[in-house]
């Protein structure tokens, strides 16, 4: 028993020394839990609030205003009135607002009359591309409509069924339509970052980088040479996911395929260059894998809008999502799959994605060491 304890103590002491002398492992062990608790604590808010809905009140009666007040009072919906039918449609289709509510003319008069032939009607059109949000909109609307029934008096004066909800882009709120286009973002980001994160670190670890650097090859040539085959691999993967999404999961692709391919190219270049940058900075395969997982996975799930709504995040984290390419590619991917979004509607995601990729490529080349200085 004494020998057992002595041996365990010796091994434990050795491990302890490894940990405290390796700043990266120590940082992972001590800082990561704080980062995770801090991020998730603020970000995971499944209670959607302040969903932006544009409202076209064609009745302008006391009843319609009362109904709209009930909608906004809970804090779940932020209502923005519009008067032009064209502007309201455009806002919805350009993803500026996730919903458009139309209160029909004579809404108040029909409630007061209680005529079965002419019921008071409300129509809600919601963006079904974001399945989770669309489901919550439906639930809130049902709750508010039932509340309205109590206030206005139930059928024939007002009936919750008279609030007709229609989901654009994903009428049946099919989960797969929502998840698969987003999954391509997660998979490609993780794969691309991970693949290249190992390449430079591997060369440093096995000593071949020293030999490579002694030849006339230039840093940007090494970076470009390392990017090229992995670009082909990632591009093949994204096409494979696309084919599976369309043929196996039967997800409609309504947008421009050229736009989709362009976004894929920009996104893959950025993700690969980020992997190279991680590899250049860490020079160790173990550290590179840990970094790549942290940077490839966490933002993909947390900061991209894949699971947690960006609009619900605190301002700081909402701002943070801007620097993650997953957010922008996911927006483009979902929009092109489920709606026929034009380039102008996707200009902001495209610009942000391009800026990210350019910065990553430039940083990789700049940070690539031309020597073996420690």
């Amino acid at each position: 028993m004494k020998q057992f304890l002595t041996n365990v103590y010796a091994v434990a002491l050795k491990e302890y020394k490894h940990i405290v002398r390796d700043p990266f492992t120590l940082a992972v062990a001590l800082v990561m839990p704080l980062v995770f608790v801090f991020c998730f604590g603020f970000i995971i808010d499944l209670d959607y609030k302040h969903i932006k809905i544009t409202v076209r009140d064609n009745d302008q009666s006391a009843e319609s205003r009362r109904f709209l007040y009930m909608l906004s009072a809970g804090g779940y919906f932020d209502l923005t009135p519009v008067h032009s039918p064209l502007a309201a449609d455009e806002d919805l289709y350009k993803n500026k607002f996730p919903g458009l509510m139309i209160i029909q003319k004579n809404f108040g008069k029909n409630i007061r009359a209680g005529d079965v032939q002419n019921p008071a009607r409300v129509q809600l059109m919601a963006d079904g591309a974001d399945n989770a949000r669309a489901g919550i909109i439906l639930n809130y609307m049902t709750a508010v409509s039932q509340e309205a029934e109590k206030i206005f008096g139930s059928s024939p004066r007002f009936n919750a069924d008279m609030v007709r909800t229609r989901f654009l882009f994903n009428p049946e709120l099919n989960n797969r339509w929502f998840i698969v286009p987003a999954l391509s973002t997660i998979i490609i980001a993780l794969l691309s970052i991970l693949l290249t994160a190992l390449t430079v670190a591997k060369e440093w670890e096995n000593g071949s980088m020293e030999l490579l650097l002694s030849t006339p090859v230039r840093p940007y040539e090494i970076v470009a040479g390392k990017l090229a085959p992995y670009f082909g691999l990632s591009f093949f993967n994204i096409l494979l996911i696309f084919i599976l999404a369309v043929l196996v999961f039967k997800i409609p692709f309504n947008g421009s395929f050229i736009l989709y391919l362009s976004a894929c190219v920009i996104f893959i270049i950025g993700a690969l260059a980020l992997g190279i940058l991680i590899s250049i900075i860490t020079r160790s395969q173990t550290a590179a894998i840990q970094f790549a997982f942290a940077i490839g996975m966490l933002p993909g799930f947390v900061f991209s809008g894949f699971i947690f709504p960006i609009e619900n995040m605190p301002a700081f984290f909402r701002g943070l999502t801007f620097i993650f390419p997953q957010r922008w590619f996911l927006t483009i991917s979902r929009s092109l799959f489920l709606s026929d979004a034009s380039f102008s509607a996707l200009a902001v995601p495209f610009i942000c994605l391009t800026i990210f990729s350019c910065v990553m490529v430039l940083l990789s080349v700049k940070k690539f060491k031309k020597d073996v200085e420690p």
Partner: protein, 235 residues
């Protein structure tokens, strides 16, 4: 004549002094040996000469074909083979040669001539298809030499090329190095084996980053009244 002149070079690795103002000239025509125990500064000096490290002070000047060059300018004339295993275990000998051909931008005719010459000179012709990871220690070093020599360099820097190599392969490597040196290449190699110091035409003895002796090995032994070369580190 191809010369490398190192003047008052100072270099720290992190905070440890690796080279403390060393000066020496490596002339062609003989094998130049940088000799010293582990931590003497041999690798740091070779890396500075191969433009992989930048000295904090001092200069390194190359002279070839009547022109004077800095390490950066001389890069295309230099072949450097590091001490650590630095080849790709999953690439064959032929694939390694093709890779280095591209890095050195050789045309097909030059590549074929040099590649065939190197395979013949090293006796590696039978192993063209063998992967580097499956080569013995001696063959591995020969392949490394072949790769860097494809460029037909004026200067060949070898960092402890015979370390971890069996006696037969070691002798073969030495024969190769002698042949390259006799062909006009300025060969500078480091070694911590004192018997190898005696095989060099000229040696530069480093200890703790300082040059403690330079010259023909037998002359150094006479001057320092040494029975064995390694006794110089006890003086």
């Amino acid at each position: 004549m191809n010369n490398v002149t190192v003047t008052a070079v100072v270099k720290h690795m992190k905070k440890t002094p690796a080279l403390s103002g060393v000066s020496m000239t490596f002339g062609g025509g003989v094998i130049n040996g940088i000799v010293g125990p582990n931590g003497a500064g041999k690798t740091t000096l070779l890396r500075c000469m191969a433009n992989l490290l930048t000295p904090e002070s001092g200069t390194i000047a190359f002279e070839t074909g009547g022109q004077k060059l800095t390490p950066a300018q001389a890069k295309k004339f230099i072949a450097y083979f590091p001490q650590e295993p630095s080849l790709y275990p999953d690439l064959s000998c032929a694939e390694h040669m093709q890779f280095f051909r591209a890095l050195y931008s050789l045309n097909a005719a030059d590549f074929k001539k040099r590649s065939d010459g190197l395979f013949a000179a090293t006796g590696m012709g039978r192993f063209r298809a063998r992967k580097a990871g499956a080569l013995s220690g001696g063959m591995y070093k020969k392949l490394g030499l072949m790769c860097v020599l494809l460029n037909n360099p004026e200067f060949l820097f070898l960092d402890e090329p015979t370390i971890g190599v069996d006696p037969v392969s070691r002798r073969e490597l030495w024969e190769l190095i002698h042949r390259f040196s006799a062909g006009g290449m300025n060969v500078v190699m480091s070694t911590s084996y004192m018997d190898e110091a005696l095989r060099c035409g000229r040696v530069f003895v480093l200890n703790s980053g300082r040059l403690i002796a330079a010259g023909a090995p037998h002359k150094i032994m006479e001057d320092f009244k040494l029975k064995k070369f390694e006794d110089i580190f006890l003086k």
